[in-house]
């Protein structure tokens, strides 16, 4: 799939007749949106306020509405929560590069947990492969489409990259509509109902962490994770940006992110940076950690280190 995306300036071929026919029908459909979705919910969605401007009661109404819509669409009970940040918590992440074997289990655990589109595929985690002994901070020499029969491969090491949850996030600064922001617990979130899909944040992100829904996301109903968060893994729209949220729906409920839990070699660490007794604090204080592209002063809360 990834290969396909890469080489694909589009397998779509235009047959003139179909093209004109489809366009005429589409024109009619889009000219009359109300006949298609003549219920009030269409207008509710259109006029929905910015998440942070809504009162508690308004948020509850919105959550109820989405639970209803998603449950109908996917044919099972879907819960949409908006659990707020826990006071005194600032989430931080650690990744032990000497342990990572490049198996990409984290990538697919993330897809399942966070309801990313399966077709076209969206991955919030990219695992880069580097050759031992060659320069590697120069990411141009990395390979993200490696596909061997078995990992780890000799003479290679791996470096997973996902949203670095910057303390000084360039994407938040760039967004023209304040549709993305940093929560009090340090997680950068997107309001999928406020994003206009201009993709300026994607241009601003130094880590390739933001992903766009180029078409309507496609999740098989039986694979949908029904435990969702409004700012996290609820199903997304066509034409909006999404990103890793440290599994906001899990971490705010006291659980580990899915990628941490699934990692077979324990390369991934997660915890509260404000808690001196946390594992992540131990790593930062006792290992030689570094952060990606530190020269850009984005202050990621994502620490890489070599434990051995």
């Amino acid at each position: 799939m990834s290969k396909k995306i890469r080489n694909n300036p589009l397998g779509i071929k235009l047959n003139r007749r179909n093209f004109i026919k489809g366009s005429a029908m589409g024109l009619a459909a889009s000219a009359l949106p109300l006949t298609k979705k003549a219920d009030a919910s269409f207008l509710d969605v259109f006029f929905q306020k910015h998440f942070r401007e809504m009162s508690k009661q308004e948020i509850q109404e919105v959550l109820d509405r989405f639970e209803k819509t998603y449950s109908e669409e996917y044919g099972k009970k879907v819960s949409v929560k908006a659990t707020p940040a826990i006071p005194g918590v600032l989430f931080g992440y650690g990744l032990d590069l000497s342990r990572c074997i490049g198996c990409r289990r984290c990538v697919y655990a993330c897809v399942g947990e966070n309801n990313q589109s399966r077709d076209p595929q969206i991955h919030w985690i990219t695992v880069l492969r580097f050759k031992n002994g060659e320069k590697w901070v120069d990411l141009e020499n990395s390979e993200s489409y490696y596909n061997p029969a078995e990992v780890p491969e000799p003479d290679h090491f791996y470096m997973p990259v996902q949203c670095q949850q910057c303390e000084n996030p360039p994407c938040v600064r760039a967004c023209p509509t304040q549709a993305t922001w940093k929560e009090p617990d340090g997680i950068v979130v997107v309001d999928y109902n406020w994003c206009i899909g201009c993709r300026y944040c994607m241009a601003a992100c130094p880590y390739g962490a933001r992903h766009f829904n180029w078409s309507k996301p496609n999740i098989p109903p039986d694979e949908l994770n029904p435990e969702t968060h409004y700012l996290g893994n609820r199903p997304r729209y066509n034409g909006v940006v999404e990103k890793c949220t440290f599994c906001i729906q899990r971490t705010r409920a006291g659980k580990y992110p899915a990628c941490v839990e699934v990692c077979p070699v324990g390369a991934r660490k997660f915890g509260n940076l404000l808690d001196p007794a946390s594992e992540i604090r131990y790593c930062i204080e006792n290992k030689r950690v570094f952060r990606l592209k530190e020269d850009l002063n984005t202050y990621p809360k994502f620490y890489y280190f070599f434990a051995t």
Partner: protein, 408 residues
């Protein structure tokens, strides 16, 4: 009141009634507009997946055209400066045509941004008060402010001037002069802000170079006037408006200086990148030599360099500058050169290689090309209608009724 309605219908009749050639031209444009619209409806239904843009290269042909057209819009100032400040008569009389072009270009800019949006119905989120405009932090919010301001200023200037002229009166400089003075820094402003939009992103080394804004301005002062030169010649051929050769040659001279500056700034950038040879050279290398065997931009960029240099020589030499055949060749060369250099040549290398080092070769799909052509055709359509009304007002063939006129 009745007078206003009568005058409105008079204007409407002027726009809708024309000769065979006029209708054929409009029909020709309408065809492309319709095809573009049809393609856009498909894009709305299926998503931006019909384009070749992907997460790796998340902006493409649309934003390239936007960037180019901001330059065209800004360049109206080149005509306005000498006309009003130095009172250079031959240009002053045609400055209004430049303001109309600027207005059209801004409208096209807005359309190109609209078609690039994933959720165009949410555009109101961008507005202050009703939406949640991220001002002053987001440069895109700045761009919304300056572009809409520029649109208002230019619309006001030329509508006011035309209104006065249509009543057979001289326009009052007292009202219009401050606006014109304001429009000059504002024109520089829209292009600077658009450059800063790219420039401010530390994630993209190719854009994160201070030379970007000056380069944008220099190339705008080439492409905008070059379009005007071609338009002026068409206008004086199809209408009774007289545009002196002197004015045309003066503009050509201005273009020559702008092109010198543009190439100089380009050279400065090439030197810095290649001589220092850091890892940030990669996008530049991708443009001119290809990277890891990916070379789809290379022929375009070399064509752009060749076209720009050819245009410079033709504009710089007085004998070729004053010969309409070579002058027009130079204009076309320059427009094509700048369109490549400043469109895809600026936008795509910002994304190649990606922030994680991937090389995705972007090349626009038919959808993108059809939609782009549709928007350009719409621009030509709008400008034609504007001219259809403005030209007879200008030459005095069309006059509105007013009480004063009757008593006089």
């Amino acid at each position: 009141m009745a007078e206003i309605i009568r005058n409105f219908f008079k204007a409407l009749r002027q726009i809708t009634i024309g000769d065979r050639k006029y209708y054929m031209w409009l029909a020709f444009l309408s065809f492309f507009i319709f095809v573009g619209l049809a393609a856009y409806v498909q894009q709305l239904n299926r998503g931006l997946i019909v384009t070749a843009m992907r997460d790796q290269v998340s902006w493409g042909l649309y934003i390239s055209n936007f960037t180019f057209l901001v330059g065209v819009a800004a360049a109206a100032v080149v005509l306005v400066v000498p006309a009003y400040i130095y009172n250079f008569k031959p240009i002053k009389e045609i400055a209004i045509l430049g303001e109309m072009l600027a207005t059209t270009a801004v409208i096209l800019c807005i359309l190109f941004v609209m078609v690039d949006m994933g959720q165009p119905t949410r555009i109101w989120h961008l507005l202050p008060f009703v939406g949640a405009m991220n001002f002053p932090s987001s440069l895109l919010a700045w761009d919304v402010v300056v572009l809409s301001g520029y649109l208002v200023i230019n619309l006001t200037i030329f509508l006011y001037a035309l209104y006065k002229l249509s009543l057979g009166k001289e326009y009052s400089l007292q009202f219009i002069a401050p606006l014109i003075i304001l429009s000059i820094p504002w024109a520089v402003g829209i292009h600077t802000v658009t450059a800063f939009l790219y420039n401010g992103l530390s994630a993209r080394p190719f854009w994160n170079a201070s030379i970007l804004a000056p380069r944008f301005l220099a190339s705008a002062f080439c492409s905008g006037p070059a379009i005007m030169l071609v338009l002026f010649q068409i206008i004086r051929k199809v209408s009774r408006i007289e545009i002196e050769d002197k004015a045309i040659f003066k503009i050509a001279e201005l273009i020559a200086y702008a092109m010198c500056l543009n190439l100089f700034l380009f050279g400065a950038e090439v030197f810095k990148e290649f001589y220092s040879g850091s890892i940030h050279l990669a996008p530049m290398k991708y443009l001119f030599f290809g990277l890891h065997g990916k070379t789809s931009m290379v022929p375009w960029m070399w064509w752009s360099v060749i076209l720009n240099i050819t245009a410079l020589i033709l504009f710089l030499t007085p004998s070729t500058r004053k010969n309409f055949l070579t002058l027009n060749t130079a204009c076309i060369c320059m427009l094509m050169g700048i369109y490549i250099e400043k469109g895809m040549g600026v936008v795509v290398p910002g994304f190649v290689p990606t922030t994680l080092g991937e090389i995705y070769e972007y090349s626009p799909t038919n959808y993108e090309i059809l939609i782009t052509m549709g928007i350009w055709a719409l621009g030509a359509f709008i400008y034609t209608l504007m001219l259809k009304f403005a030209i007879p007002v200008y030459t005095g063939e069309l006059r509105f009724e007013s009480k004063k006129n009757k008593t006089a």
